[in-house]
Symmetry: C2
Subunit: 203 residues, 2 copies
DNA sequence: ATTAATTTTGACCATTTGATTAAACTAAAT
DNA sequence: ATTTAGTTTAATCAAATGGTCAAAATTAAT
């Protein structure tokens, strides 16, 4: 059995995440979060002193989960080829589960850029490991490239369909949700093919 | 000589654009826009009835300019190869001039997705022309691909470094602005190489 | 059962903020 | 010079909003 405090705190966090993710820090209302959680507004301030503190909690949790996901995918790969496949597959599948996260994180980034340094430092993200993994295998089969550019390439290709969803779904597919979904399904393999075709020298 | 009304309206629009782009609709304050324009807050309501109307004006102007830019680049290309180069070069150079636009548009998209359909319809964006251009040249030198996927690929590769700027600049380059800028400079050519290597069969 | 501590609520406060309005100012027209 | 239309400002409003506080309700301890 869960204690009352844990239960209420969970309800608040869940509700706050839902509202903040949809509306961002500025657009969210404490009353809306309280309603979503089915509790009195004052309770929000009882558990978290202020809106800022509550948002901090939600944001840092979300951001941390993103970093951990990325880290996990990175750590389960050895060669460049398996890494590409694992990362792209793992990352896109997480995104499809939580499609709101990219916009949430990116918007908060532009609203409060300096804060991310703190958040990143609370995580144990190993940058050099990733770079060395991507930069490895100086092989005749591999086109020379800047590992940092490639990292940005891959993440861009994976994330963009979600941050630009309304344009893609609404304009490119004229609000045909089916079409958009199958586009996403095919996209994972497309990105893998696209990146591989570019990185590896074709024979 | 400019008339009073045009002058004031221009000052308001300019100030509003600056504030809205930085803070978004929810985060922006009418007082801040008035201060930025050096006028009384009531004048904002005299020229534009409400905050919504003012934002609408700024957003639709911005969005329209983006679409026009893209259209222009599209119309000045004939072959697939020249299109790729022209589009990537043109698009990245516009982005470097106005790096705030992507975040602004994307955030508003998630805040108010249904509104974009109206905006897009006010522009004369020719979707089929672009698709046919990219889908053209069924050539032995061209790997088979879905033109829509390729469109998203290219735009993603171009835009992402700007929407994720704080992460790239702050984390990947540890706030070394020089490094981030040279990353951007090299990136245009990198994207061209990256996409070409993937699209065209290597000999 | 009583007391004590914790949790939850409703009423309320102070501030912010978009918006209004009437008055003041400006400039052109007669 | 006076009128008139257009522009700008200061004062102010009403609603929204984050936050506080004391009282009520619930739970745990003695």
């Amino acid at each position: 059995m869960v204690s009352k405090i844990e239960n209420t705190e969970f309800k608040i966090i869940t509700a706050a995440r839902k509202v903040f993710l949809r509306k961002g820090m500025d657009g969210a209302r404490m009353q809306e979060i309280a309603d979503e959680a089915g509790i009195n507004k004052s309770l929000l301030h009882y558990y978290f002193r202020s809106k800022d503190k509550l948002f901090d909690r939600v944001f840092s949790d979300t951001f941390k989960s993103v970093v951990e996901t990325i880290n996990k995918v990175f750590s389960t790969s050895d060669t460049l080829e398996t890494f590409l496949e694992n990362f792209i597959k793992g990352y896109t599948s997480v995104l499809r589960e939580k499609p709101y996260i990219p916009n949430f994180v990116l918007h908060e980034l532009s609203r409060n850029p300096q804060r991310i340094v703190e958040y990143i430092n609370t995580t144990n993200f190993d940058k050099s490991r990733i770079i060395s993994l991507i930069a490895s295998e100086p092989d005749l089969n591999v086109r020379p490239y800047d590992p940092l550019q490639l990292i940005v390439d891959i993440i861009a290709l994976c994330i963009f369909p979600f941050v630009a969803r309304p344009i893609i779904s609404g304009f490119l597919f004229e609000d045909d949700v089916e079409a958009y979904n199958s586009f996403l399904e095919e996209r994972t393999q497309h990105i893998i093919d696209f990146v591989k075709a570019s990185v590896f020298v074709q024979k």
